[in-house]
């Protein structure tokens, strides 16, 4: 019996804080990475490339929402405000001051983090669904402000000047989508790494703890409000990066589009469908929903404009009824069980 206990203690001590992924998952990941890298060289259809670029961008946005809602449990329904801040920052810096979008992206992320502090400090004290309501209203108000603001083009927005200099310096590629493909892939990988790192960091632990039980977290000495604001800053900055990138991709922005409530809602759908709070869920959600909306647009033409929304709606109902923890949980539970049993 005492040796049993000693062995048990030994095993418990050796227990990693996070289980290692099984070998087949690593292999699958390597194959997936190779496919993603080779994709634009093998598949030259610009539409297929465009769809992938959108998947990457939406994956970034869904990961952003995943940080505040999935990891920290704070449901934001106004995430488009950060997307718009990122979009407008590169737009204004380029059209008004001729500053390169590479700097614009960083400034946009900083401004979004600042906005997250300004919005978060008063609203993240609210419990339950009040934070969701507050962000919904603030998101709409920001859109209205930008639509009335003449200096930034009011309702008609901004057109970014086309440049003929160095495409990489100007972040404008007029002849090919391949550079956009790799850049958006890189941004998606970065966002993925942020969430991966965050989930394993002490900050991520604390966020997940306060998500599960804010009172218990506070009683253990975790400064709940401060941590929520920090998560909101990270989330906002990620969203702004996607907004900046998107603007460089389409080279036009207007408040109707970049502050659209559709953006705020779609990031929620993608994350929830894939699996909120998980590492792969947001990417899975983006990979499912972006093609759905792009292809339905082609198949049904302009009459099919709302078909994708109807399918989204049906998906959400199905997920809520049968898989409230998201599609990823179909596999995750099995992987975990296999990893846990020696």
């Amino acid at each position: 019996m005492p040796s049993d206990q000693a062995r048990m203690l030994e095993a418990a001590r050796a227990e990693p804080l996070w289980p290692k992924p099984p070998a087949w998952a690593t292999a699958l990941g390597a194959v997936g990475a190779a496919v993603l890298l080779a994709y634009p060289l093998l598949i030259t259809s610009t539409f297929a490339q465009h769809t992938m670029i959108l998947i990457f961008l939406y994956a970034v946005m869904a990961q952003s929402w995943n940080v505040i809602a999935g990891l920290s449990g704070q449901i934001s329904l106004g995430h488009a405000m950060f997307f718009g801040i990122g979009a407008y920052t590169v737009g204004v810096l380029d059209t008004k001051f001729g500053i390169t979008p590479w700097i614009g992206i960083v400034v946009g992320m900083l401004l979004a983090a600042l906005a997250a502090v300004a919005v978060g400090i008063p609203t993240l004290r609210l419990k339950g669904h009040y934070f969701a309501i507050a962000t919904l209203l603030i998101g709409s108000s920001v859109q209205i402000i930008f639509a009335r603001w003449d200096w930034v083009g009011a309702a008609s927005g901004l057109f970014l000047p086309l440049k003929r200099g160095s495409p990489w310096l100007d972040f404008q590629f007029h002849t090919s989508k391949v550079p956009y493909y790799y850049l958006s892939l890189a941004v998606a990988v970065l966002a993925f790494l942020v969430v991966w790192r965050l989930r394993r960091s002490r900050l991520g632990f604390r966020l997940q703890a306060l998500r599960d039980d804010a009172d218990a977290a506070a009683s253990l000495g975790i400064a709940v409000a401060r941590h929520k604001v920090l998560a909101f800053m990270i989330s906002g900055a990620m969203m702004a990066a996607a907004g900046s990138f998107y603007t460089q991709y389409v080279l036009v922005l207007d408040p109707e589009r970049v502050f659209s409530i559709d953006i705020s809602i779609i990031v929620v759908l993608m994350t929830v469908v894939g699996g909120s709070g998980t590492l792969w869920g947001p990417a899975l959600g983006a990979a499912l929903l972006v093609p759905l909306s792009e292809y339905s647009r082609i198949w049904f033409g302009s009459t099919g404009r709302t078909i994708d929304l109807m399918i989204y709606g049906a998906l959400i109902v199905a997920i809520c009824m049968w898989r409230p923890s998201g599609l990823l949980s179909l596999f995750a539970e099995r992987i975990r069980r296999r990893a846990a049993s020696p």
Binding site: M8, P19, A216, L220, G221
Partner: protein, 235 residues
């Protein structure tokens, strides 16, 4: 005195639930805070740990005043609050839950040893360290909640209804753990509805009735007191 609560008044909005309650816990002492459902026991401990703000009165711990201190600043002073109904983090593993208990620098420095100590007290937790907390049984979750509290190396352990819904065998094991902790000199404040159990484990007791302190005294005297029966069963 380790913990001193003086004329505490607590209200939820306009609705006052605690009226002038005073109590104290000395270092190494175990004390029971008793009372029927809704008498304000949990409100008092929640105010001590800062989850609720006091309306009036003083709370001092180890000589420092807790009034005005944010909730998260109180755990590092040496107060561990094991909340009612377990409240473990369901989507984190047992080990992750325990690690979160060792939060402030002193506790973190000793984390490996404390973890071992908790696993010794509750071998069950060691066996299940990689499992998600929500997959544990009720008794195991209670062990985890208590273990998580111990990870902070508290000077005072406040446990809210630790025996609620436990199987008799698990309850005996928990009592054994509390005896061990008492033997190690930890101050414990039991919040209980189970009067007999709570008084058998403590040297003194306070009994609340409708938010007011009704009687207090040595546990043996309280057990024999006719007032105790009146408060709990009426008549």
């Amino acid at each position: 005195m380790l913990l001193e609560v003086d004329k505490l008044e607590v209200a939820y909005g306009d609705y006052q639930v605690v009226w002038g309650v005073s109590l104290n816990v000395d270092a190494g002492e175990s004390v029971a805070l008793l009372g029927p459902n809704g008498s304000g026991k949990s409100t008092v401990v929640n105010t001590i740990s800062g989850l609720i703000r006091a309306k009036a009165g003083a709370i001092t711990f180890g000589g420092t005043s807790l009034v005005g201190q944010p909730t998260h600043a109180r755990a590092p002073l040496g107060i561990a609050h094991v909340l009612e109904r377990r409240r473990v983090f369901p989507h984190l593993t047992v080990l992750q839950n325990l690690q979160l208990g060792a939060w402030h620098p002193t506790a973190k420095a000793a984390r490996a040893e404390t973890l071992e100590r908790v696993y010794r007290l509750f071998p069950r937790l060691g066996e299940r360290s990689a499992q998600l907390a929500r997959t544990l049984s009720g008794g195991e979750q209670q062990m985890l909640a208590l273990g998580r509290g111990l990870m902070a190396l508290p000077r005072l352990l406040m446990v809210d209804e630790p025996f609620l819904g436990l199987a008799p065998q698990v309850m005996e094991q928990m009592k054994g753990v509390f005896e061990t902790l008492k033997g190690e000199g930890m101050a414990i404040l039991f919040i209980e509805q189970n009067v007999r159990v709570a008084l058998s484990m403590s040297s003194r007791g306070y009994v609340l009735e409708s938010g007011r302190l009704a009687i207090h005294g040595p546990s043996q005297e309280l057990l024999a007191s006719p007032d105790l029966r009146r408060i709990f069963v009426g008549g």
